[in-house]
Amino acid sequence: MKYFRPNSIDEYHELLVTLKETSMSILAGGTDLMPRWEPDKGLMPDVLIDIKKIDGLMGIRENEDEIIIGALTTIQDIKKSILMQNEFGSLSEAARQFAGVQIRHRATIGGNICNASPAGDILPGLYVHQANIQLIGPNGSRSIPISKFIIGPGKTMLEPGEIVSEIHLLRKGVKSLFYKLGLRQSMAIAVVNFAIAYQQDSNGAFTSLNIAAGSVAPTIVYLESFVDAIMSGVSLDEAIQHVDIDISPIDDIRATADYRSTALKNVLEYNFRHELHQGNE
């Protein structure tokens, strides 16, 4: 395996032109990548490009309309960001519950997005806040909504040579929360996770509502049927049954499909009743 570490986007693009090898991996935090090279799993790629030193891809910045997170920003930086805590509660909470302390210091938000895990903890928050993913590639840059960027387990719209540069979040004053169910208290892959973004009027009625759930489908999914039912004013008891329309969970070593569905509905219903004060408490 050949290892390269470009210091800028330009250097990175120059490097791409010279490479002849067939298989290539991008290294950011490496927390998802390196375990794949265990001898019982896959082979190392011919080329590894470490993008950690590329200028300008790290840190959280803001302007009037947006918060912009550099792709190399660590989960730990997101966890400790007051800005994120104040305006994007679900992402802040997801970062808090993300893996363990060592991994939070290595893992990057860009890496978590490109890994496109159906169980990714950062992803539901990005979905409900309708994050836009900024990409840079040999043919210039482009922007795609997160829900269009991720197309399957481990699959994204990244073209060869393209990397994620930034994540854009609109500052709309939407509140959000995040929930994760794992099989232990840290270092756990979610059996179910979800984020809820919402705005309520003074009577507690939703003026906007967006929910995305993880580990219940090949990608993070929006719980659209459930949201539609809630917004149309049916009872919570009835609306919650719509969740099964939105999800397509599977059995694996962590849990059965039935369990994922039941636990998701139980906790979602509880959150609507007790956190968002819908239905009878």
Binding site: P39, L183, M187, I253
Partner: protein
């Protein structure tokens, strides 16, 4: 004169600074000149026969050196430690996915692994037995001559009379799962050929003398031709009791074949697939009780999944049988304990050795009966608990070192057992659960013939003292307590003492470092050595000081003539002895007291003494998800005498953590014999956040045959935990949880079932 003994003091561990700063060199870090590497080749099917091993592709791997298999064995192709049912390399029959075919040897670990993967074996598959039920009910085509690996029984009293006297008879069925040791350091060794035909082994191990015998057997050599040294060992928990014997024997064969040192370090995924685990048990308890809560009769069936080879199942099965009803008086009891072969990885020694499983049975049972009788579970236990002079379930009369009752009372007081009255109306249901256990120390009647251990104490001219012992440090703190006990036995400062790495050439065969026996065995051997050593020291001192030897006192690192008050430093005495050409090396030996035990009926003295413990778990169950949170553990342990209280707290906290894992998070899953949870992301050990505060309470009921009164702690620390948690969860949700692990899914399913019934 004030005695500055360190017995009872929390002396810090001599091995700690190097370990916490990462300086300790474990086997992975050790390289020797010309060393090559071995990787295991093993069966990919659970049961069948093979005729041909094709290594043509493996040979082409760059760096390939050799392939070692059954035909290379000069001695006996047999590594069975108790029952001779396990070939070192499979001889035409494979019995589990992981059964050894050979060892690929290459210049690098990577090349060895690649070559191992490329060895092709053609199999004729047989229909495998993948459960206890399938194995038990088989009528032919057995895994060995029979599918029953072993059987133990206990017949004490008359259970029919007992059940007739009972007012209530309660029956229940329990299941406990596998547990993988997950020692931080995987199995590892280096085998060295020595020019004169001897073989040296450096290994991560628990039982150097098991390895010595196993390697000697493979080569047909006398034991002493095999030298075994222990490398710093990164955890074992029983997983390095018998397993290193086979790994070292294969490495030794390879080393002798290629004439070079051969290192074998298992990758974690191989370690988990190939090596032993805790036996899964299924248990049926039928217990009769009077209305006042007196236990009168019990009929217990324990069934154990032994895996493909018996390994240590016979003694695990024995321990479970003689402890099956726990620390309670019960006059009539029948126990049958059956281990069945299956086409799954062999199960063997794991901290507790059958006791955590039996404890789950008897302690769940105690709660279920208390519930039926509407008695407080603590009162019910206290009503039946063994006391000094009581008879155990095997009709053994107990001596004075019986702290069972006190552990219950002290744990209950601290946990505020009597005032616990939670609000159970909300999402989270709170529960408190108790579990009391006894644990037979050392090898007991089934292993008495090998229950002796030795030390070799050498006084150096500088005043330093080297202690060689036959048991080992595997992370449990043995070096610390050996230091303390030696210092106290000789009256000298602990700083003088250096505990040597265990080396078969330096010490007599001391049996295995298992069964929580290190403090008792080594401590008593130290006292035996000191008994021989002290008169020599005193005689020498009397010559040095010119006084009567009966007036010499050695204490607090000083050698004093009690008549004149003249004293010399211990190092001055040692220097004098050296110059006077005196003997300065002394051995000590101790064997456990004789036991009267009838193996046919199981009645008699099963172990010479018992440790006792009570754990109380405080839990919270999320009724929406089934998640169990352990909020606190109160752990009271009767250890006879705490040689090192901090060491005991460490053992207890570690045991509790491992118990929480077994009870809740560690779900070991196999699919047709393939482990599907082979790594840390799928086999979930509890993390720091899963482990609550543990309040350790030390109870000291001095054991007359224990050194300074001490008994074992290593295993008792894990035995009650899972049952205490399951009792707490059952109490919290009002459903009897009779199977672990208590995964969220298992708990939620039970909650949903009960809701539907309502």
């Amino acid at each position: 004169m004030e005695n500055l003994s360190t017995i009872g003091q929390s002396l810090s561990r001599p091995d700690a600074p190097e370990k916490v700063t990462g300086k300790t060199r474990f086997l992975t870090d050790i390289s020797v000149e010309n060393m090559v590497h071995g990787a295991p080749v093993y069966s990919s099917i659970p049961f069948g026969k093979f005729n041909n091993i094709d290594i043509s592709k493996a040979e082409k791997v760059d760096g390939f050196i050799a392939f070692v298999s059954a035909q290379d064995i000069p001695g006996e192709n047999q590594v069975g430690v108790i029952i001779s049912d396990q070939p070192l390399f499979a001889d035409k029959t494979v019995r589990y996915i992981g059964d050894s075919i050979g060892l690929a040897v290459a210049k690098t670990p990577g090349a060895a692994l690649e070559a191992a993967r490329l060895v092709k074996v053609d199999y004729d598959k047989k229909s495998p037995y993948l459960s206890i039920d399938k194995s038990r009910d088989a009528t032919g085509n057995f895994i060995h001559k029979t599918n029953l690996a072993c059987h133990h029984r206990l017949r004490n009293g008359d259970i029919d009379v007992g059940f007739a006297e009972a007012d209530t008879i309660v029956e229940a069925h329990f299941k406990t799962p596998y547990q993988e040791h997950y020692y931080l350091e995987p199995q590892a060794c280096i085998a060295f050929p020595i020019e004169d035909g001897r073989i040296k082994i450096l290994g991560s191990l628990q039982c150097p003398f098991y390895i010595q015998k196993a390697v000697a057997r493979i080569f047909g050599l006398p034991n002493e031709k095999v030298l075994v040294e222990q490398a710093p060992t990164g955890g074992a928990f029983g997983g390095k009791e018998d397993i290193p014997s086979e790994i070292c024997a294969r490495a030794a064969l390879a080393a002798m074949k290629v004439g070079l040192p051969v290192k074998v370090v298992y990758h974690r995924f191989d370690d988990v697939q190939l090596t032993s685990k805790r036996h899964p048990f299924q248990m049926h308890y039928k217990v009769g009780v009077r209305n006042d809560g007196t236990l009168v009769s019990a009929k217990i069936l324990l069934e154990e999944n032994a895996g493909a080879y018996a390994t240590l199942s016979t003694v695990v099965s024995y321990r479970a049988a003689v402890q099956a009803m726990g620390p309670y008086v019960i006059p009539n009891i029948h126990v049958d304990s059956n281990s069945y072969y299956t086409n799954l990885p062999p199960t063997g020694a794991f901290r507790g050795f059958g006791s955590p499983q039996a404890a789950f049975g008897h302690e769940r049972m105690m709660d279920i009966i208390a519930d039926k009788l509407k008695m407080d579970p603590m009162e019910f236990r206290l009503k039946n608990i063994v006391k000094p002079g009581s008879q155990t379930q095997t009709a053994q009369r107990l001596n004075e070192s019986v702290g069972a009752e006190e552990t219950i009372q002290k744990a209950a007081r601290l946990a505020q057992w009597n005032s616990f009255n939670p609000d159970r109306s909300g999402r989270y249901k709170h529960g408190l659960g108790m579990s009391a256990i006894h644990y037979g120390n050392c090898l007991g009647a089934a292993g008495w013939h090998m229950d002796g251990s030795g030390v070799n104490i050498k006084i150096l001219p500088s005043g330093d003292v080297h202690v060689a012992y036959g048991l080992i440090e595997m992370g449990q703190g043995a070096e610390t307590v050996v230091t303390q006990m030696t210092a106290d036995a000789l009256g000298i400062a602990p700083s003088r003492i250096r505990v040597l790495p265990t080396d078969s050439a330096q010490v007599p065969d001391s049996g295995p470092a298992v069964a929580s026996r290190n403090v008792i065995m080594t401590g008593n051997a130290i006292r035996d050595a000191a008994k021989k050593l002290l008169p020599v020291l005193k005689k020498a001192a009397s010559e040095l000081i010119e006084c009567h030897k009966s007036d010499i006192i050695i204490t607090n690192d000083k050698v004093t003539d009690n008549q004149s008050g003249v004293d010399v430093g211990f190092h001055e005495l040692c220097d004098f002895m050296s110059r006077s050409n005196m003997s300065m090396e002394f051995t000590g030996w101790w064997h456990t007291p004789p036991l009267e035990y009838n193996a046919e009926t199981g009645v008699g003295e099963a172990y010479f003494t018992y440790s006792y413990a009570t754990h109380i778990a405080k839990v919270r169950v999320d009724t929406l998800t089934g998640q169990v949170f352990v909020d606190k553990i109160f752990a009271a342990h009767d250890v006879g005498k705490a040689i090192n209280p901090a060491g005991i707290e460490g053992q207890v906290e570690g045991g509790v953590a491992q118990g929480i894992g077994w009870a809740i998070t560690e779900d070991f899953i196999m699919d047709r014999g393939v482990v599907t949870t082979p790594n840390l992301s799928t086999y979930l050990l509890p993390t720091a956040l899963d482990c609550p505060e543990v309040e350790t309470i030390i109870v000291e009921k001095s054991e007359p045959d224990g050194p300074w009164g001490a008994k074992g702690i290593g295993e008792p620390s894990i035995i009650p935990t899972a049952a205490a948690i399951a009792n707490a969860v059952s109490s919290a949700i009002g459903i009897q949880m009779n199977e672990i692990p208590l995964t969220p899914e298992r708990v939620l399913n039970q909650l949903n079932k009960t809701e539907i019934k309502k």
